[in-house]
């Protein structure tokens, strides 16, 4: 990773960046009712490992990478006030198609909603920062042409912000781990140091998954019934800390 890319990734990966992911546990909150007991650190790590390997890796990461590629086919410096070039319109349409495909292939309603809400918060921050493409893509979401899932918008805007494909995928994987461990900490499942102790193994899994190539026509897929059941249980909790 080049220094500029590293610094950009650190900037967007910083918890101070207003990306909005704090409200989501990706089903982790539903783990206790599913297990019938409070999950310990090992259970938290296993849950996140499964998310990385069997959901994010073959699904969201695929969409992110393909949107990153599609975003590069247009004018990276397109004017955000609506003066996009025709070429950029085509790129954004391609991103929107991939965005729709991820949304309509996501089984769990709470995870679909989470992906859209996370994407909206992420987009709002980049809109205010003036990241190229943010305004035009918001228009597509407003018109119903795109659902605005987080992975699609990450691929689009991190490309436009200068991250390469691997950097963008690694950053998204890092945020999945960091967000999951933050949720676990807030739920009282692990302490702050305990969360840090889980980081190396989980980030190693992210590195492994990110190294796997994404084919040009690869579609999002996965196999995570346990996490989807956990998400369904979380949605029925009478008191919830997280949106999903």
């Amino acid at each position: 990773m080049k220094t500029a890319g590293l610094l950009t990734a650190l900037r967007f990966g910083d918890s101070a960046f207003p990306g909005g992911g704090f409200a989501f546990s990706q089903g982790l909150e539903g783990l206790a009712p599913l297990r019938g007991a409070t999950p310990d650190a090992d259970a938290v790590a296993a849950f996140l490992d499964e998310q990385i390997s069997h959901r994010w890796g073959p699904a969201e990461r695929v969409t992110l990478v393909r949107c990153h590629r599609a975003a590069g086919t247009g004018g990276a410096a397109a004017d955000d006030d609506g003066a996009d070039t025709a070429m950029d319109e085509g790129a954004l349409d391609a991103v929107a198609a991939l965005d729709r495909d991820l949304d309509l292939s996501t089984f769990s309603q709470t995870l679909r909603r989470g992906a859209r809400r996370n994407g909206a918060a992420f987009l709002a921050a980049h809109l205010r920062l003036g990241t190229p493409g943010a305004g035009a893509y918001r228009g597509r979401i407003a018109s119903g042409a795109a659902p605005g899932t987080l992975a699609a918008i990450q691929g689009l805007l991190w490309r436009r912000a200068g991250l390469d494909e691997t950097e963008a995928a690694a950053l998204a994987g890092y945020q999945l781990v960091a967000g999951g461990l933050t949720a676990a900490t807030r739920l009282g499942l692990v302490g702050a140091l305990g969360a840090q102790a889980l980081m190396p193994v989980l980030l190693g899994r992210v590195a492994d998954v990110v190294s796997r190539p994404v084919a040009a026509d690869e579609e999002p897929s996965g196999f995570s019934p346990y996490a989807e059941i956990a998400a369904a249980r979380q949605a029925r909790l009478p008191l919830r800390l997280f949106s999903n």
């Binding site: 499964e50 196999f223 346990y226 949605a235």
Partner: protein, 285 residues
């Protein structure tokens, strides 16, 4: 992306059911090896419009290199329950996958329940199922699919090596839901076989993973009672509303085939009762 399945050669099983007065009749029937089809049964006297058909295999399972296609059409106002008499063994040679493609069409007012028993994944099996359903108007459907992991580790004392050597090669099940020509949901489950067999894998110690898709109008309250019906069988189950308002889906994990069968019966009974106002007669297998 999301293109329709290419026009297949003549399917090995190609049937059509239409409404004739109070009953649903089999009006077209082409069945070739390895399939065998029973005659239609009217198992629910109070709802004679529901025809039940059992698909059987005369080949002893589903083999690597096979590429089988089934086409089913349910006409306007007709109702069909299509199921199997037992689970299907998927044999493996650690080479080519066994492929099955299903093309289902349900016309307005029609109802189709396609509830096959799970596929039993033998060592080295690679199984690839692709189902496409086209619903018109207010047509409704219930689709289930599932895998049952053959468990050599149980016979050899649970050693991790035995698990690895007895693992299937791959499992892939894709279901595309079209309503009035638009793709509204695509369920794409894919996993490498060794991950399925791992003790710490995504089955979480269960041998059966299954899904049910209830395509129709489903309220939040009904969704919960559907999930509760499956959970009451001892299975782990979670239900969710699907994209595009196309219905609801349920994921299910069961420790063995018997538990899965109870859950599948509960899932079917719930949908049947919602649709027809009476509980179904038990489908004997």
């Amino acid at each position: 992306m999301n293109a329709h399945l290419p026009p297949p050669r003549r399917p090995e099983l190609d049937i059509a059911v239409e409404r004739r007065d109070a009953a649903s009749r089999l009006v077209a029937r082409y069945v070739a090896y390895p399939f065998h089809l029973t005659r239609p049964f009217a198992l629910d006297p109070a709802r004679p419009e529901v025809a039940t058909l059992y698909i059987q295999s005369s080949s002893g399972g589903f083999y690597a290199g096979e590429d089988l296609t089934l086409r089913v059409r349910v006409g306007r106002g007709a109702a069909l329950h299509l199921t199997t008499q037992a689970s299907t063994i998927v044999h493996g040679d650690r080479g080519q996958p066994a492929r099955m493609r299903l093309l289902l069409e349900v016309e307005p007012g029609g109802f189709l329940a396609y509830t096959p028993d799970p596929q039993i994944l033998f060592p080295g099996a690679a199984c690839e199922t692709r189902l496409e359903i086209r619903l018109q108007g207010d047509a409704e459907a219930l689709l289930t699919e599932g895998l049952l992991l053959h468990d050599p580790a149980r016979r050899t004392g649970g050693q991790e090596e035995a698990r690895a050597s007895g693992a299937p090669m791959a499992y892939s099940a894709r279901t595309d839901i079209h309503r009035d020509g638009c793709l509204v949901f695509s369920d794409r489950q894919r996993i490498a076989g060794p991950d399925l067999a791992r003790a710490d894998g995504p089955l979480h110690g269960h041998r059966v993973a299954a899904s049910a898709l209830w395509l129709g109008q489903v309220s939040s309250a009904t969704l919960q009672s559907w999930e509760d019906a499956a959970t009451a069988t001892g299975s782990l189950a979670g239900a969710s509303l699907l994209p595009g308002g196309c219905g609801a889906g349920l994921r299910l994990l069961a420790t063995d085939g018997a538990m899965h069968q109870r859950a599948q019966e509960a899932v079917f009974a719930h949908v049947f009762t919602e649709r027809f106002g009476i509980a179904p007669t038990r489908r004997r297998k």
